[in-house]
Symmetry: C2
């Protein structure tokens, strides 16, 4: 079996397609539960095209066809893509046909908001632990979770085999905490601390920094 390496820029667009397809599916289920449709209409509803998908995400139909063909052509010329099938394939490819445990590091405002965020559960993720080093909040609850001490982080992450962390600590300690996460076996870090962090080659990092995104836009104003 040959393994095709998919360029990172394409990998980055696949979650956008997946999100749009799931949204289409949800809307279709609303329509199906409120209207009586014939078999042909249902079949049409359950299918999308590169044009329709492209319009909903602001990417050209040609680009979408090219991206999806990278990991196996499964659209049919003239009839388009089965939404369910495409969701299944993209989820499999992105490895979100399973649920990943995620640790939140830092239980300030952002850590709280992420721990309570409703948008993870149906997209492959579950916040299963939250840590902070502030004695005043350790032991308190956020939803179903108890805020645990940073001292217990390594043990908890190793025991539960958690591979993903969201980092919401101050910039000044971000690298030190990152090193601890890597030692504990974390393999993917979503970094909310407003600073670049260094990790070994086998660890992936993505960044969320609202000021950075805003600054990228002000250039165009």
């Amino acid at each position: 079996m040959s393994i095709k390496i998919v360029p990172d820029i394409i990998v980055g667009r696949l979650p956008i397609y997946l999100r749009a397809l799931r949204y289409m599916k949800d809307k279709n289920q609303e329509i199906l539960s409120s209207q009586k449709l014939g078999p042909a209409e249902i079949k049409k509803l359950e299918t999308t095209s590169s044009q329709e998908l492209g319009e909903s995400v602001g990417i050209s139909a040609a680009q979408i066809r090219k991206d999806l063909s990278q990991f196996g052509g499964f659209g049919t010329q003239g009839t388009g893509y089965k939404i369910d099938k495409l969701i299944e394939r993209l989820s499999f490819f992105l490895k979100v046909n399973q649920v990943w445990d995620v640790a939140v590091i830092g239980a300030g405002d952002m850590g709280h908001a992420l721990t309570r965020y409703q948008g993870f559960s149906d997209r492959g993720f579950k916040i299963s632990a939250v840590f902070d080093n502030n004695p005043e909040i350790i032991g308190k609850r956020i939803g179903n979770l108890v805020i645990q001490s940073m001292d217990s982080m390594t043990g908890v992450v190793k025991n539960a085999n958690i591979a993903i962390a969201m980092l919401t600590v101050p910039a000044s300690v971000a690298q030190e905490v990152t090193d601890q996460l890597v030692d504990a076996g974390i393999k993917a870090i979503l970094n909310y601390a407003p600073i670049s962090i260094n990790v070994p080659e086998n660890v992936v990092v993505q960044y969320i920094d609202p000021s950075l995104h805003l600054q990228r836009m002000t250039y165009y104003l």
Copy 2:
């Protein structure tokens, strides 16, 4: 005067350089206030190189030199870049040498966290209004700001000449609210709603969706 068009991919890296430079400057100020240095040492501290900057952000020195040369070479071969000067130039270029008013739309957990976030003020942004359509929270305070009704949004945004909005509403209403924002004169939207939105060509959008960033990493796990 010739205007050089800088590719978007370079524009996207400039805020990363700016963030790292400001962090260097803060650290240097700590050193200067705690140690007695000679003029040569101070001069060295106030200077950085493409190598040093590159290591702190994980981008090659050659790429950094190329990026910075796009909008005027102001490094000196052998002596590097004056940190202050480079901060000033990048801030000017990204138009964050001024403070932009920002409206937060949606005062749920994420809207709260953003409104209270400390990382905007020194990077060119100030949250100056927050809106929600839930009568139970309209009138309540987040820090110094009172949550205002969505009905008043257009008037407030137009009066205060607010150009930037952060959108933290549910996906189901994101497009409708986006259309209202555009009508009110908003020119840049940082969209936290987990859905793509359509805007006219003169409006810029950036996306923050933690599930999307996480899905981009699970592929590599």
